[in-house]
Every structure is written in structure tokens, then in C-alpha cells.
Symmetry: none
Subunit: 239 residues, 2 copies
DNA sequence: TTTGCTGACTGGTTATAACCAGTGACAATC
DNA sequence: GATTGTCACTGGTTATAACCAGTCAGCAAA
């Protein structure tokens, strides 16, 4: 997708995101909508649409009468299958990923169970450090079945793993996830640049591919997030 | 809040919601936008705004060129406004509650902001210890507006607070909630019978009553759960 | 000095209008 | 009968305009 066919509100949103990521800090004010419409050469409603999207994503906050501000920094996960990169970009951060290791190893019991492996069977282990604007946010450990993904270790694993899975014919259709709080073990703490034992959010996710219910297990992951840089938010309704 | 001052897009949304709830079934088509603008006597952009909100809430689905349809009852999440007691019973535990204190006090800034209080205004503070089979699971601190709930402190607060609110004419219709991991402060750790600094799940919840969007704020709560005795689970779908 | 008002700014809502792109029924043509 | 094209519908995007309601700095009056 090049910018030639890009919708105006998408362009404006992208450019605002870049501004937030590169120049602005939490609490900084954006120009007013009427100034932005001149600056971007679009109508006010287009500016509002772009800003609304960023407000929804948590990157910006609007205050009536005062203006629109860069929000105070927590990335919000909104409980859908967005990739880390998408989440970070939506919040105005530049994501990056460092592959700690990608190898074949014996998985923990829960991963083996999910993937339908026998005791002692090996699986792919992909461990990655995820960063936002160069600062570590999470350590992700994914376990994947070698039989279904023969060439996985030669893929570029610094982007979206779900995209790699989709390109291999195994798009993740849904997942089940739990969240706990945990004390950061030493190795993880070092990677995340926090004190050992500091509280972290621990996500365990079981992902499925295929249209069946529940589908075919395709990934088991354990993600450890710095709690000061990541938060889950949700909207609750009457059951 | 009567309908006299109701925004047009809110009225249209409410009326569409009622139509969906009472008459239509999953898969049924709504009238087209241009017909709806005539029927509701508003501009098309107002109709679109109302529908957009319902699309976002999952009630409706829009298909370009075809129309807008009642969605196929996609279950967004297992997260809903169930009470602590219901959760525990569902998991096979016998719940109980001890009121730590219920008083009038100056709330923290976030609670004051949510409840629309001025700096220094007082609110009800209800602190409770929640137990399962006699073992502490969470410390809940709720802040509520005294103006709306004059007799609250004489209620039995060992059961469901939401039930008390409903009986007072303020049923909680929806809430927004965030989850973080945190280190247990000393006082909370003592109550939960864990080490100070142990990781806990920290929920902040902003609850609303009434049918408006977003409704009238009615409670701000901070709940601290022992991570080894409580876990959030959720089902993720494609966005 | 304090208080209150005003005006210029802010975001929020709604209207009218025009155009674009997708859908599918129906008619015309091969 | 099959294929293609047209047209009336659908939602999607964007523009211009007007008005409402909140914020706050500056100024005037008490």
C-alpha cells in the first residue's frame, strides 16, 4: 500500500502518529483542529476523524475547551488479535523486536499439552524482546509445532509472528488468554531493565488456526510485560 | 437525564438498539442510511454516527454495497459485570465479605475526576475484604457519590454492591476497567496474607449507570487481587 | 487586590452536499 | 442459456458551514 491511494484521514492519522512518536511527549498539546486542517490541507472533519482514531487507540486525549494532548503513556491492549507492532504504533510508539533465540527445544508441559505433543517431543521455541522507542516492554516466548511449520526458523522473526503463520497457511483465528501478575524472574528482569521480583503482567495464550471450533492449536505463548509500560483495558457490559 | 436534552445521535442509537433488541434477529437488515435519516428526521451523518457506535459495540455489522445487519451474536469476551460472589460460586468456592470500613472521605484524584467531584469534595469510601472459603482473595475499595446515594452507609455492604446500587435506582449498565500488575503495599499485603511487595493484579474500574453514552458515573473502584488466587481469562478474536 | 465579564480560543454536534466504490437485479446481446 | 453492461441501490469519504458548550487570559469595575 503506497500513499498514492491513501485515504486522507489515514494519511493525517499516520502523520500525527509519527509526530507523537518522534517529537512530542506525554502531556504535550497538539495544534487545534482548525490549525491542523490548514496545515494538512484537509477539512476539519477529516482532522477530527484522524484524531478520533488515535484517541480510541489511547495515543491522544481530547479535552473540550482545552485541546488535544498526547496521552500519558500506557499502551492499552484492547483484547483482540492485534500484533505487538500494531499496538505500539497505534499508541504512537516505534516498535522493534530483538530475537533472543529461535531454536528447537523441549517445551514446558502446558505448551506440549496445547500443541498435542508427547512428553519429550521437541517444538520450536522463539524468544523475543519487544521494544517501544528502543525501550524494552515485553519478553515473548512462543512455542510452535515443527510438523506444521517446517521452515519456521529461517523466517524473519522480528516482525509479526502471526503474519509469518498466516503466510505459512496457518492464520491465527482466535486465541484464549489468561493474565496474571507475577514477580519478574532475574533473567527476564535483566532483559526488561527492571528489578528482579518487580511486578509484571504475565500473559499465557493458546492460539488456534483454522475455522473449526476450537480449531487447530498452532502456538502457545508466554509473554511477560513491564507493568509500567503496558496495561490491559476492557469494557464490561451486562452479561 | 430525560430525553429532552438527549443528543440526536444518542437518541437514534437508543432507538436502533431497542429495535434490535425487540424485533430484529441476527442477520436481519436495517433500512438504508438514507431511509433512516428520513425516518428519524436527522441528517445522514447523525444516522451514521449512531450506527457506527453500535457497530463498534458489536451489535451491528456494516457491509459496503449491501447494507447494515444485526450481527450474529459474537460473544466478545467472558468478561462481564458478574459479581465477586457469582465468580467465586461459579468456581466452586464459598464467598464471603468483610467490610473494612465504610465512611465519607476525600477520594484520590482519579476517583474524584470520574465522579465529577471538585478537589476536596468528599465521597463514600467502601473498603472490603473478599474471601473464598474463608481465605482472602481481594481488597476492594469503591468510591461513590454521596449526592446520588444518601443512605448508602446504612446498607448491608457484605453482599453485592451493584445490587445495592440497583436497589437505589442506579443499576450499573457498563464499566471500563484496566488491569495492571503491582507490588502489594504493606497494608494490603497484611489483609491478603501475602508478603509486602508480592505481585498482585490491580483492577481500576469506572462504572456508569443510566442509558446514555457514557452514562452517569456511579462508582470508581480499585480492586487488588492475590495473583495466585485470581486470574483473568479471555477469548480473543480477530479485530 | 479581587471579582466578574468578555472575547477568542478550544472541542462537540449537526446539517447539506457531492462524489466514490461495492452490490446485485435486470435487460440486452451473443 | 450464458455473458455482459447498466442502473439504482448500498455504504464510505470529504467538503463547507453553522452553531453549541467549555476554557481561560485579559481587562474593567468594585
Amino acid at each position: 500500500m503506497d500513499t498514492a491511494g491513501e485515504l486522507k484521514h489515514v494519511r493525517v492519522r499516520r502523520q500525527l502518529q509519527e509526530l507523537v512518536a518522534s517529537t512530542l511527549r506525554p502531556g504535550d498539546a497538539l495544534l487545534g483542529e482548525r490549525q491542523l486542517e490548514e496545515q494538512f490541507g484537509v477539512s476539519r472533519i477529516t482532522v477530527r476523524r484522524a484524531i478520533s482514531d488515535l484517541v480510541q487507540d489511547g495515543a491522544l486525549v481530547r479535552i473540550k475547551g482545552k485541546g488535544t494532548f498526547v496521552s500519558h503513556g500506557l499502551v492499552r491492549s484492547t483484547l483482540h488479535l492485534a500484533s505487538f507492532n500494531e499496538d505500539m504504533r497505534a499508541a504512537g510508539y516505534e516498535p522493534s523486536t530483538r530475537v533472543i533465540n529461535a531454536a528447537v527445544a523441549v517445551p514446558p508441559a502446558a505448551a506440549a499439552e496445547h500443541l498435542g505433543l508427547a512428553e519429550g517431543d521437541e517444538a520450536y521455541q522463539v524468544r523475543r524482546l519487544r521494544l517501544a522507542n528502543g525501550a524494552p516492554v515485553s519478553v515473548d516466548e512462543s512455542w510452535l509445532p515443527p510438523g506444521a511449520l517446517p521452515g519456521l526458523l529461517s523466517e524473519d522473526l522480528t516482525g509479526s509472528l502471526y503474519r509469518v503463520l498466516a503466510a505459512s497457511g496457518h492464520p491465527v483465528q482466535h486465541a484464549e488468554q489468561t493474565v496474571e501478575a507475577s514477580a519478574a524472574p532475574e533473567e527476564t528482569a535483566v532483559l526488561l531493565e527492571i528489578e528482579p521480583g518487580a511486578p509484571v503482567l504475565l500473559f499465557r495464550r493458546r492460539s488456534f488456526t483454522g475455522q473449526d471450533d476450537p480449531g487447530t492449536p498452532i502456538e502457545y505463548s508466554i509473554s511477560t510485560y513491564r507493568s509500567d509500560r503496558y496495561q490491559v483495558s476492557m469494557r464490561l457490559a451486562l452479561a
